[in-house]
Structure formats: C-alpha cells, structure tokens
C-alpha cells in the first residue's frame, strides 16, 4: 500500500489516495496517514531550496517507512508514503506522471487553484499509473 497526498500553498490538502503498491509490514492506520505526511512538510520545505530539482527523493521517515516528495514550480507538493522496498526510479517516474496529470487539471478553467481535486478522471489515472509503476 502506498499513500499519496497533494498539498498546496498554505499546507492545504488538495488530494489524497491509498494506492496499490508493495507493502512492508505494519501499515499505519487511516487517520494517521495525513498527520505523518504533514509532519514531513517541514523537512520538505527545507529541502526544496537545497537543490534545483523538483524531485526531492526522501524527505522524512516514519517507523522505517520513507516519505518521498516532489515539488512543482508553483510549490504544489506531491508526497508519497511508501515502503523502503520501492525503487527510486519508479517513484520518480510516478511523480512526473502525476505532475502531467496535475497540469491537465490545473488547465481546466473551472478548477480553482488550491482547492480539492474532485475530478474522477484524475483519480482513475493516478491509480492506473500507480499500478503501472509500483506493481511490477
């Protein structure tokens, strides 16, 4: 199981989903997932300015489960809570795919920036790419 959260400006949660992916031992309960990811935001903010790349690799760890992150040019943060067995390359490609999907949502004139993403098409496509990249 892999958990993704998209956080916008002002630490507003825009999207979250539990995606198919390799499991490692203990999975945190549902209500803790958001907190874990938000906890990682501080180290994420710190790491954002340390380099030039959008993919920030691992920014935090919780109970041996790493949190990886990706920051877009507009400072929308994609965060992934996953097992340590997940390959970095798969995570990187997944993040870029989610980035492409996010851009399509952002271009919709009816979508207001920093509001929750309710598009079912987006949801379906994120789940499909998670299946493609994480279940190999």
């Amino acid at each position: 199981m892999v958990y993704i959260a998209i956080v916008g400006k002002g630490d507003v949660l825009i999207y979250e989903a539990k995606l198919p992916g390799p499991s490692s031992g203990k999975v945190p309960p549902e209500n803790q997932l958001q907190f874990i990811v938000h906890q990682a935001l501080d180290s994420l903010d710190h790491k954002t300015w340390s380099g030039t790349s959008m993919y920030l690799k691992q920014v935090d760890t919780f109970n041996k489960m790493p949190v990886s992150a990706f920051v877009t040019a507009g400072h929308i943060k994609f965060m992934l809570l996953h097992s340590s067995s997940l390959e970095e390359n798969a995570i990187k490609q997944f993040f870029y795919e989610v980035y492409r999907l996010y851009i399509k949502v952002a271009m919709n004139p009816f979508y207001l920036k920093n509001t929750p993403i309710t598009s079912s098409a987006f949801n379906d496509r994120v789940r499909t790419s998670a299946r493609n990249f994480f279940m190999r």
């Binding site: 271009m107 919709n108 004139p109 009816f110 979508y111």
Partner: protein, 186 residues
C-alpha cells in the same frame, strides 16, 4: 469533382493561409471568459444566452471575413449553405472537420464535429451540467447567416463535454429575409 469535395479543398487551403494563434491560448481565454460570466450572472441559463449573444456579434462580423477570404459565391440552396459552414467555415476558423447531417425536414440540419479547440482541458463540474459551453459557436452561425438574409435558430444538441461522442449544433431555418433598401424619395 463534386461540390462538397471542392468545398473541403477550399476549406483546407483557406485554413493554411489564415493567421494562426496558439490553441491553448484560445482555449484558456475562452475558459476564463466563461468562468467570469458564470461568476457575474450565477445562473447557467443566463450564461448560455449571453454566450449566444456574444457569438451573434462575432458572427455578423465574421461573415465578411469568410466571404472575403474564400471568395465563395451565393449558395443556391440550404444544402450548400450547410456544407459551406461545415466544410469551409469550421475548417478555416477552428481547424476542425465538421459533417452535415440532414434533419427532420428540408429546413433543418445539424453540424457534427469533434476536437473542438475551445473545450481543450475543460471538465464540466456537476453543478454546471446544463451549461452549453460552446454556445458561442451557435451564436456565430446565427449571426453570420443573419447577414446573408437568413433567420435561423441554433441549438447545441450534443457536447463532448457532456459525454457525447461528438458535438452537434442543430440549425433550423425560420425564414429568408428580403433585401431591404432605403427609399430614395424621402
């Protein structure tokens, strides 16, 4: 060469000579326009009417550009008019191929098209499911035909945004207008 093939060729050649603008810019400008209208009027029905009115104002001016750039002569019947709009008009202004299907009687026809550049990236939220997003195009057709002495009503029957496979504009001819000239002996 059939008339329709000639029209399609004319549409293609005119399209290639037209000055072009970035389609994403067009789509985003139109999207901003529609969302601003919704914010101002709140009511979807009113927004539909406003889009049609704007389209009408565009159409009355666009017909001159159409006639100037293509040099087509007067259409002999409604069938030719329908095909001119679909094969030449839609191609040269939007870059898309449209088809004509004939309606219930000789005064009604529909123009079907796919790949409308205005709806690129758009996803209609549930609360606006009655919004005729491309209603501007209906107004353009009505305005343009009014300037060539035809009164029509147009309706956006099907829309790719609402889940249909194609978009469809249904045109009904109401009446032909006689050319009016101002009296010379006033």
């Amino acid at each position: 060469m059939s008339l329709h093939t000639k029209m399609a060729r004319l549409g293609d050649s005119t399209f290639s000579t037209m000055e072009k603008v970035n389609s994403e810019l067009l789509a985003m400008t139109y999207g901003a326009l529609v969302t601003t209208l919704i914010k101002d009027f709140q009511d979807v029905k009113v927004v539909n009417t406003e889009l049609e009115k704007m389209g009408y104002n565009i159409g009355v001016r666009l017909i001159d550009e159409f006639l100037a750039k293509t040099g087509v002569t007067q259409c002999r019947n409604l069938k030719e008019t329908a095909h001119s709009i679909a094969k030449i008009g839609f191609k040269m202004f939007l870059g898309i191929n449209a088809e004509v299907t004939w309606g219930a009687d000789a005064r009604q026809f529909s123009i079907e098209f796919k790949g409308n550049p205005l709806i690129e990236f758009v996803e209609l939220p549930e609360k606006f499911k009655n919004l005729d997003y491309s209603n501007l195009l209906c107004g353009v057709i009505r305005g343009a035909l009014h300037m060539v002495q035809m009164v029509v009503t147009t309706e956006l029957r099907k829309s790719e945004l609402k889940g249909d496979p194609v978009s469809e504009i249904y045109v009904t001819l109401k009446q032909h207008l006689a050319e009016k000239f101002k009296g010379e002996d006033d």
